[in-house]
């Protein structure tokens, strides 16, 4: 028998062509910080991966058309009904495509997890000051991804052409109309004319399945490329310096942990998709612009705008003879202010703190009571708006008239954020001035030390 040369392994063959081994080795040794709070962005990343995979499957069955068809599937109450092709295919996905309901529901749950994990990730970055120089650019990429995630969730939610989604689109249309000068043209351009428009489902579909996910994929790549270039921040600790990163190597420890997280994310959305019903479009019925379900409560990531629309007083202003429609303020200006504030935060923070240094070591939240106060106030503001967005549930529980609840909420939407901001400031200041590790360990002495009067006295004493 002829002795054959040992066959080169595939990896070796590839290296013979690309010569990647040296780079690869240093990549495998890349160090990641170990703190749990650094995993939130990964939850978002893996939710996105799941959304893409499940979305591809859904797109094989979903028909983005407002043309009418006769539904002839297993869902008896709808058999023989003339409905839009979009709605019929969404119901078919749920009742007639085996496994379709699982994928549809898991996709919806994954969208919730995607946005929620981005919000938590954003809170971590915000409270620890990780957005500061040199990471301002990555902060703005992150805020853009949150915006796109919310938009795409809304677009996806609107596709099945059911009664609830049609109502959401109706409100979206009214907000677009309200933009001064260009509103009516913009709304007609997007909706193909007066609401409901015949093309809106097709247009939202291409945005939802191609354009927005593609932009998100590019932004995720940029987010990670900047992260690899600049390396992670890390918390202060023994041996942890401005000039290094301390933690686990990518391979094997970090990769295994991260893959475990990927599996956990997939597990969570699949279990939820199998066991917890979400958005049963066949119950809402198909979209009929003349009817509406009550109560109609939107998904939480959009519900704060609904809450603001409800709380805003029935005012209308005229600026230079132009009517500025009522829904413009809560529907367009408020989201613009919130996201404008988020985009500008690194520069606002720099101005207010005077801190222009480069930071690779992040602080604990307490180190900036201002940020804690701002975060507490903003989150409380959003929380009150979420309550306002679901006030019919309060009406059911309390039995109070909706107008009484609304009057209370109109006061609380201003009072509670201020209170939350002050309490946040106080707790952060108390923690900062004491040695305790956690908020729950704060005692009377530490809390008193955090009060402004005492602080001034102490500072004067020190001078």
């Amino acid at each position: 028998m002829v002795t054959l040369l040992p066959r080169p392994k595939p990896m070796r063959k590839l290296d013979e062509r690309l010569g990647f081994a040296a780079t690869g080795r240093s990549l495998l040794a890349k160090v990641f910080p170990d703190h749990w709070s650094f995993m939130m962005g990964e939850v978002a990343l893996y939710s996105f991966v799941f959304l893409v995979l499940s979305g591809i499957y859904l797109s094989l069955f979903f028909e983005p058309s407002t043309g009418t068809v006769i539904y002839e599937g297993h869902y008896r109450p709808m058999q023989g009904q003339e409905v839009s092709a979009a709605y019929a295919s969404a119901v078919r996905l749920s009742w007639d495509v085996r496994g379709g309901l699982l994928v549809r529901q898991a996709h919806h749950w994954a969208a919730h997890l995607f946005i929620a994990s981005i919000v938590v990730h954003l809170c971590r970055i915000f409270l620890t000051g990780a957005f500061r120089r040199p990471r301002e650019l990555n902060w703005t990429i992150g805020v853009t991804m949150l915006l796109l995630a919310i938009f795409n969730a809304f677009a996806g939610y609107s596709l099945p052409d059911d009664l609830l989604s049609g109502t959401g689109l109706r409100i979206f249309n009214a907000i677009a109309l309200s933009i001064p000068l260009v509103g009516s043209w913009l709304a007609f351009l997007v909706f193909d004319g007066e609401f409901p428009g015949l093309e809106i489902i097709q247009r939202l579909y291409i945005l939802h399945v191609l354009i927005v996910p593609a932009i998100l994929a590019v932004l995720i790549s940029a987010h990670l490329a900047l992260l690899i270039r600049q390396k992670h921040t890390h918390f202060p600790g023994p041996g942890r310096r401005h000039s290094n990163v301390v933690g686990s190597r990518l391979w094997p420890a970090y990769a295994l942990r991260s893959l475990s997280l990927l599996a956990a994310v997939f597990a969570a959305v699949l279990l939820a998709g199998g066991l917890l019903q979400i958005n049963p479009v066949w119950v809402w019925g198909d979209f009929d612009p003349a009817t509406i379900t009550a109560p109609s409560v939107a998904d939480w990531y959009i519900l704060w705008i609904e809450g603001a629309l409800r709380l805003f007083p029935p005012l209308e202003f005229h600026v230079f003879g132009l009517e500025v429609a009522n829904q413009f303020w809560a529907g367009a200006v408020l989201p613009l202010l919130i996201f404008g504030g988020l985009y500008l935060w690194p520069w606002l923070d720099r101005r207010w703190s005077g801190d222009r240094e480069t930071h690779h070591l992040t602080g604990r939240p307490r180190e900036s009571p201002l940020r804690v106060a701002f975060a507490s106030a903003t989150l409380m503001f959003m929380a009150v708006l979420l309550v306002a967005g679901s006030e019919e549930l309060l009406v059911q529980w309390t039995g109070w008239p909706v107008s009484a609840i609304r009057d209370v909420l109109r006061v609380l939407v201003f009072v509670l954020p201020v209170l939350a901001g002050l309490v946040g400031w106080w707790l952060a200041e108390s923690l900062r001035r004491s040695d305790v590790g956690h908020t729950v360990e704060l005692g009377r002495k530490e809390l008193l030390a955090g009060l402004p009067r005492r602080r001034h006295a102490a500072e004067e004493g020190a001078e």
């Binding site: 409100i171 309200s178 007066e194 190597r249 295994l256 942990r257 003349a290 029935p314 009517e323 009522n326």
Partner: protein, 284 residues
């Protein structure tokens, strides 16, 4: 690991169980056992996979020290940065404002010109959205019909009754702005403006069903208070008082449709609504 050849049972067992759960998913699919079985099996497979991987990571972590990597980011040293700048601006690329300006103009013009086809997204050329929004297809003499197309007589409505009506011969789904709500209030309760007292037929009054706030259908009528409520943002309108808003964010009353009857006694419109319907818009 100290004995790398030996597979830790706490990792291997979850992996094998995960494979079993995945097989369960396949079986559930073939036997059509339903959504809970499918989600439970596949979700369970991922739970077990996550557990195995997490356990494996923990075993590795226990043996690994904290690794330290130096961070070498920061501004490029000035000489190298200057060299980069120089390479970028080196001749033969002239630093002519005219040249670069001309290139910029061309690129901007191409970009701007390619925006024009976006106008094709509008339904038809030459229609001003403001004109379209200002009017509805209601004409004098158009019969009011139900969603099924049945003409309505005032007698068809009991006192306190409500019917959603559309113009005869038009597809209501494509002419949302025509959506009208007919309500019969007890005799003598209507307090309409003087010029609208003859807009009703036998105490049946017609308003646009689109909320003047965000355009949702004002679908909830409470007969005891004679109020219409929008379930979206809870604006409330007083039906007896020309549908004036009494609570919530809606800034305007619901526009009213002038009603009359034709020879056969069916309700007809006697013109368009008293104002543009639905939400206010930018250059209203």
């Amino acid at each position: 690991m100290s004995r790398p050849d030996r597979a830790p049972r706490s990792v291997v067992v979850p992996f094998l169980l995960s494979a079993l759960a995945a097989a369960g998913f396949a079986v559930s699919y073939v036997l059509d056992l339903g959504n809970a079985a499918l989600g439970g099996c596949l979700g369970g497979a991922f739970v077990l996979l996550a557990l195995g991987l997490a356990r494996w990571a923990t075993l590795i972590d226990a043996q690994e020290p904290d690794y330290v990597e130096e961070r070498a980011v920061g501004p490029t040293p000035t000489p190298q940065y200057d060299a980069f700048r120089q390479a970028l601006t080196e001749q033969p690329v002239p630093r002519s404002r005219v040249l670069w300006g001309a290139l910029g103009t061309a690129v901007a013009a191409i970009g701007g010109a390619t925006l024009f086809p976006l106008r094709s997204m509008l339904p038809s050329m030459g229609t001003d959205p403001d004109d379209v929004l200002s009017v509805t297809p209601w004409r004098s003499g158009t019969r009011l019909v139900t969603e099924e197309g049945v003409p309505v007589r005032a007698d068809d409505l009991e006192v306190g009754g409500m019917v959603t009506a559309f113009p005869e011969g038009l597809d209501p789904r494509h002419h949302v702005d025509t959506t009208t709500v007919l309500i019969r209030v007890p005799s003598g309760e209507l307090r309409l403006p003087a010029d609208r007292t003859d807009w009703v037929v036998d105490d049946v009054v017609a308003y646009s069903k689109l909320c003047t706030h965000a355009g949702c259908p004002v679908g909830l009528y409470t007969d005891t208070t004679r109020q219409l409520m929008c379930p979206c943002h809870h604006s409330i309108f007083d039906v007896t008082d020309g549908a004036q808003p009494v609570a919530g964010p809606a800034p305007h009353p619901l526009p009213q449709l002038p009603l009359g009857t034709d020879d056969e006694g069916y309700l007809v419109a006697r013109g368009d609504f008293s104002a543009p319907v639905g939400p206010g818009w930018g250059n209203h």
